[in-house]
Symmetry: C2
Subunit: 363 residues, 2 copies
């Protein structure tokens, strides 16, 4: 279908299967203005209580000495990897084959920072201690993504995670966490964020996934690393005149949605339960580790997509579109992250929506 | 004086000699929300009418084929220089000794992009055709800053500018404009922005100086350059999930303040006239080329600063603080950019404020 028709359909929908629902700029800005204290002065090129207070808050939450707010995770992570690699004296940076740096950043780590990627393990499963033990080159840094987004936000059991981190430490390899969805991990590990982050030397977290902020990221770690990261932030063009719209929405997101992570997770588990009843549907992980499910539908792609559009039109509930291609012929994928909008839908109604889609695709 | 006391004094002031006055985040967000159409959908990773429509508007205003919105000028300019240098097959990039890339970006052009800076001309004056003719190395790109901020936003006469640009074109050297304050040049050249920008292959403009936006920049140029710049924007970590607070405030600034540039310039000229009466004051350029004056005060620094604080306390008008060091002993500098707040002050009152400062410093 024409992207404009899809956009129009999205704009007509009033309820949403995933995420926090549609928040248009006008409404988001008005809500943010209402939430912001009237006498709070702006940040300025990274200075000011507005930004430094939030950096301290997040550093404390993650049990790190210091933190720096940046416009994007892309910036945080390239900088963290470069700094660790410089310190360690090796350009080899190791990560999972689906790492954001490898698949979404146009090889910036190579082109801007002269780093060499070593892909560890296999695309379709978590990286293991065994994978690490096969690495024959000295590493500048090891990046672990918690949870591993491209495989449905899977997480290693705590003991496996500890074993991996012990390996890195015993080999003097700095450990960096891609925690784009770290906030979403707490129900799985049932541990404080500081305890999870405590296994790592540095951590990047994001504020616009589960927390629903406008945009923005933080890199947390030792004082000296963060001080040096600020210089590279300036080099990247990320030391912005005013970051307050992002910082404030991040603070608001943390305040309002961090307490909801258990509810988002529980909802994903409930949805997984009802999806099991459909023979045309598979999903992973089972049960979900976080608030995310990767859902696979079997059938004719065009018929399934037409059925999705019809169902969304008929119900006013936005589901997902388009379906993404899969390795296995006849299978099509979508990613679901539960959020505020999902909590507003009864799980029985969600099951009924999937039933309608599959029935229309068959008809 | 203690920075916190100064900040408190700034927060107590109700009128301001320079700029557009104090706009706290809460108020700025509320005004932006009020200005934004309620049904306007967000941008998403650089896509969407909200951002592309504005890019097209600014490209048209500058007479360029295409434009890309980025979080910062630092990002725009490194990318532009790298792309031109790549095309031209030379890593040598030439600019004035006070170029932003040379003095404010921690040598990022070298460290991220492997470019070599060639400083053209002398710090205290504009770059000339004669300076260019002395360059013995093949250039990848020449950057000209219009106006040259660090020397009081000076501008070359139109004929000199054309001669420089002709030299570059005849030597097949791509020309990039640092137009951080291009909007402020129109009264001086009395030409359309497209005619000024038409002398250059690419142009960067900013939205938070004279236009008073929150933050944000645009790079404009040929279609192919801008398409490639978008890839490097992603590499820099500047392809943000949502840029709408910056884009909307830039649109608002352009709409509301572009028509005021003549008034800002005229006010700077008026202020310059009255400053001439004080033997302790010199300024440049005389008359001002844009809305900016670099003002030099002779006297004891501590006494002048104490007098500034007293005068600001007594009148509730924020002037400037601290004074900046100068090459010449006993001289101290401040930079004044006129704006909405300046227009609200009568020029005779401004003269009286300077008189009070100088009198208190002498007493």
């Amino acid at each position: 279908m024409d992207p404009q028709e899809i956009e129009a359909l999205f704009n007509q929908c009033t309820r949403f299967l995933g995420g926090h629902g549609r928040r248009l700029p006008q409404q988001a800005l008005a809500e943010l203005a209402e939430w912001t204290p009237a006498d709070l002065p702006s940040d300025r090129y990274g200075s000011g209580e507005l930004i430094s207070g939030f950096e301290e808050q997040v550093a404390a939450l993650l049990g790190k000495e210091a933190a720096v707010f940046m416009p994007s995770g892309t910036m945080c992570q390239q900088i963290a990897l470069r700094l660790w690699a410089d310190r360690r004296g090796s350009r080899h940076v190791a990560f999972h084959p689906t790492c954001h740096l490898e698949i979404h950043e146009q090889q910036a780590y190579q082109l801007l920072h002269g780093l060499h990627g070593i892909l560890v393990g296999a695309r379709e499963r978590l990286l293991t201690l065994d994978d690490l033990q096969r690495i024959a080159e000295p590493l500048g840094v090891l990046l672990l993504e918690l949870p591993q987004r491209e495989i449905g936000s899977q997480l290693p059991p705590w003991e496996d995670l500890v074993a991996i981190c012990d390996w890195a430490r015993s080999h003097h390899v700095p450990l960096h966490m891609d925690g784009a969805r770290l906030w979403e991990c707490k129900p799985f590990y049932a541990r404080e964020y500081a305890e999870i982050a405590g296994l790592f030397d540095s951590v990047y977290v994001s504020f616009y996934k589960g927390l629903g902020g406008i945009t923005g990221a933080i890199l947390a770690g030792p004082h000296d690393l963060i001080a040096e990261a600020r210089i590279w932030q300036r080099r990247h063009g990320g030391n912005l005149f005013q970051l307050y719209p992002y910082v404030l929405s991040a603070r608001k997101g943390l305040e309002e949605r961090l307490p909801c992570m258990q509810a988002y997770h529980d909802k994903a588990v409930e949805i997984a339960q009802v999806l099991k009843k459909f023979p045309e549907i598979t999903f992973m992980p089972d049960p979900p580790h976080t608030n995310m499910l990767h859902i696979f539908l079997r059938g004719d792609k065009a018929r399934l997509e037409a059925a999705l559009v019809e169902t969304m039109r008929a119900t006013g509930v936005w589901l997902f579109y388009p379906l993404r291609p899969c390795q296995v012929p006849g299978c099509h994928m979508t990613e679901l992250s539960t959020g505020d909008a999902t909590l507003e839908l009864n799980t029985a109604e969600i099951a009924e929506l999937f039933r309608q889609v599959l029935q229309r695709a068959e008809a």
